[in-house]
């Protein structure tokens, strides 16, 4: 074997990851189930299911519907709550040599701050990922993630409430994602996760009702890849912050496209459902690909987009 194994490690701000493959929030639970079929230490990181201050029961079923090349979900952010996570889930995740990122959300500024404060200083937690795709109940339902002013404010509020590195997860449901990226940066984000799901719906023709109990849901999976790539492209033009590329990644080819566009790491989401070994295999495939290409560090690839 050649002595020069490609270096897959990447830096996301102050966070060093052993490799750039991370499991996306809501598609990996809290890691326990996947640990039965893989060594979580092989992953660069795990983003846990979106946490709120209190236990959340979630939406009524049906919560998913399959769509061409993807799926819609309306899970309703069911989760064990910050306390439950710290007591029951984090101690398990600490056993692995992988970054643990807590995805957090709230319905008001105060709820965001409360969960961020509660998780601050937790042993074994690497970073926070701020899910700003929920409506701000207090402000009359305006999305934290679609109004630049609110994006900046909620980012700053959480920034001030926690000493952990802060990744802000952007929603693609906006006209100019660059503007939201700059707002998050101004609020103190250390990195940007791009993208969350897109809104969509389907109709059950027989009953003429929406298929999902909540009328609309979040679209994910291979179908959203080109949108996600474009959003990373625009985000990279707007900011120099590290980017975590997300959306429709099934394996090597899609991940490479994100890196070339300037993503510093990638998150695998829906593919975990239909191909549970997808993220682990991606780590191996990246390493082998770099080796055959004579690439010594994955960072050589990042932002290598040729234009014109």
């Amino acid at each position: 074997m050649s002595g020069k194994r490609p270096d897959l490690s990447v830096r996301i701000g102050d966070v060093e990851l052993s490799n750039p493959v991370i499991a996306a929030s809501g598609t990996f639970g809290y890691g326990g189930e996947f640990s039965e079929i893989m060594d979580l230490s092989q992953l660069g990181g795990v983003v846990v299911k979106g946490l709120s201050m209190h236990v959340e029961r979630g939406n009524a079923p049906p919560r998913i519907v399959e769509t061409p090349g993807g799926m819609l979900n309306s899970i309703g952010l069911q989760n064990v709550g910050a306390e439950g996570f710290l007591e029951e889930k984090l101690p398990f995740l600490r056993r692995f040599n992988t970054a643990v990122i807590a995805n957090i959300w709230g319905r008001t500024f105060d709820e965001y701050i409360a969960v961020a404060e509660r998780l601050d200083g937790a042993k074994g937690l690497t970073a926070l990922e701020l899910n700003i795709s929920c409506p701000n109940i207090k402000e009359g339902g305006i999305n934290f993630g679609t109004d630049p002013k609110q994006t900046e404010q909620v980012t700053r509020a959480v920034r001030d409430a926690s000493s952990l590195p802060l990744w802000v997860k952007l929603t693609p449901g906006v006209t100019d994602i660059g503007e939201l990226a700059r707002a998050a940066e101004a609020g103190g984000a250390d990195a940007l996760s791009v993208i969350n799901t897109l809104r969509g719906m389907t109709i059950d023709v027989a009953s003429r009702r929406p298929t999902l109990s909540t009328i609309f849901g979040g679209l994910s999976g291979p179908a959203i890849l080109p949108i996600a790539l474009y959003m990373v492209y625009e985000t990279r033009r707007a900011t120099n912050l590290p980017i975590l590329g997300i959306g429709g990644i099934e394996g090597l080819d899609q991940a490479l496209q994100f890196f070339i566009l300037g993503a510093n790491a990638v998150q695998v989401g829906t593919a975990n459902f239909y191909d549970p070994m997808a993220s682990i295999r991606l780590v191996d495939d990246l390493r082998n690909w770099c080796e055959t290409q004579g690439i010594l560090s994955i960072n050589e690839l990042v932002g290598s987009l040729e234009s014109g």
Binding site: F34, E66, F273, Y274, P276
Partner: protein, 272 residues
């Protein structure tokens, strides 16, 4: 739990849109318990993208009684199952399993009354294995099998081969009792009044609810295998939740059908 790419070793068409696929995989087969399921891919492409949950139908054993494979009994209901019907021997599928909580069955030494297996449609799939296991440990078994038509009845031959008495019901009256399968069950319970009977059910939700009501009235234990739309099958997506009782005040909470189920004590479930 294993994730394996397996070749289809056998295909048998058993009824209208009903077929059996056979696989060889000693690791999965060795872990299969009655009521377990697997998640299987249906397309090589991304449409449809999700795998489908299927119950383990039979475990295949070699001459020395060592498990080496398993079969699935599938009925066409939509695009994914229609694609599966087109598969031939040698085609490959991704198979993840075995998954879920299986039926809780008594051991040899546990005394028990008669075990009554109540099934409708393709909900019959897990029950031959249940019967096999119960018979092996010396328990008495009786099957109540329902379907739309005589043609669509499933597993009746399996039960007969195992020596299990079978009562049949069809929606159109083309074989056995004309009507729902809960009626022959009800009739049997009324005429025989078997002491300490133990109930099991799988099939359409209204049918399972009807069996649940019988179980409550007669104070008999009932395990149901519940179906919910599933994306992952392993407990990470939270798409498959069902309501269970949480305390004495009519409170409830969601649990994952794929992980805390698919087999539940019917009294734990909130039947809406």
């Amino acid at each position: 739990m294993y994730d394996r790419r397996l070749a289809i070793e056998s295909v048998a068409h058993v009824g209208p849109g009903q077929f059996i696929l056979g696989f060889e995989c000693p690791e999965i087969a060795a872990q299969c318990r009655p009521g377990h399921f697997v998640m299987i891919s249906v397309a090589e492409s991304i449409d449809p993208v999700l795998r489908r949950p299927m119950a383990i139908y039979r475990v295949l054993r070699d001459a020395s009684n060592t498990p080496y494979g398993f079969t699935l009994l599938i009925e066409v209901v939509g695009c994914g199952t229609a694609l599966l019907e087109q598969k031939s021997i040698g085609d490959h599928l991704e198979v993840l399993g075995p998954l879920g909580v299986p039926f809780s069955l008594p051991t040899k030494d546990e005394a028990s009354g008669e075990h009554l297996l109540v099934m409708g449609g393709v909900g019959s799939a897990p029950f031959p294995l249940v019967a096999e296991e119960l018979l092996k440990s010396g328990h008495r078994v009786r099957a109540f099998v329902g379907a739309r038509t005589a043609e669509a009845l499933l597993c009746v031959d399996d039960f007969r081969e195992l020596g299990v008495p079978v009562e049949v019901a069809t929606d159109d009256g083309s074989e056995g009792f004309h009507g729902y399968v809960v009626h022959p069950l009800q009739g049997y319970l009324e005429s025989e009044d078997p002491a300490n009977a133990v109930l099991y059910a799988c099939g359409p939700t209204p049918m399972m609810r009807a069996v649940h009501e019988i179980a409550i009235i007669r104070n008999l234990p009932l395990q149901v295998s519940f179906e919910a739309p599933m994306a992952c099958g392993i407990g990470v997506c939270l798409s498959c939740v069902v309501r269970v009782d949480a305390g004495d005040y009519g409170d409830w909470r969601y649990v994952r059908c794929c992980r805390e189920g698919p087999v539940f004590d019917s009294r734990r479930l909130v039947w809406q």
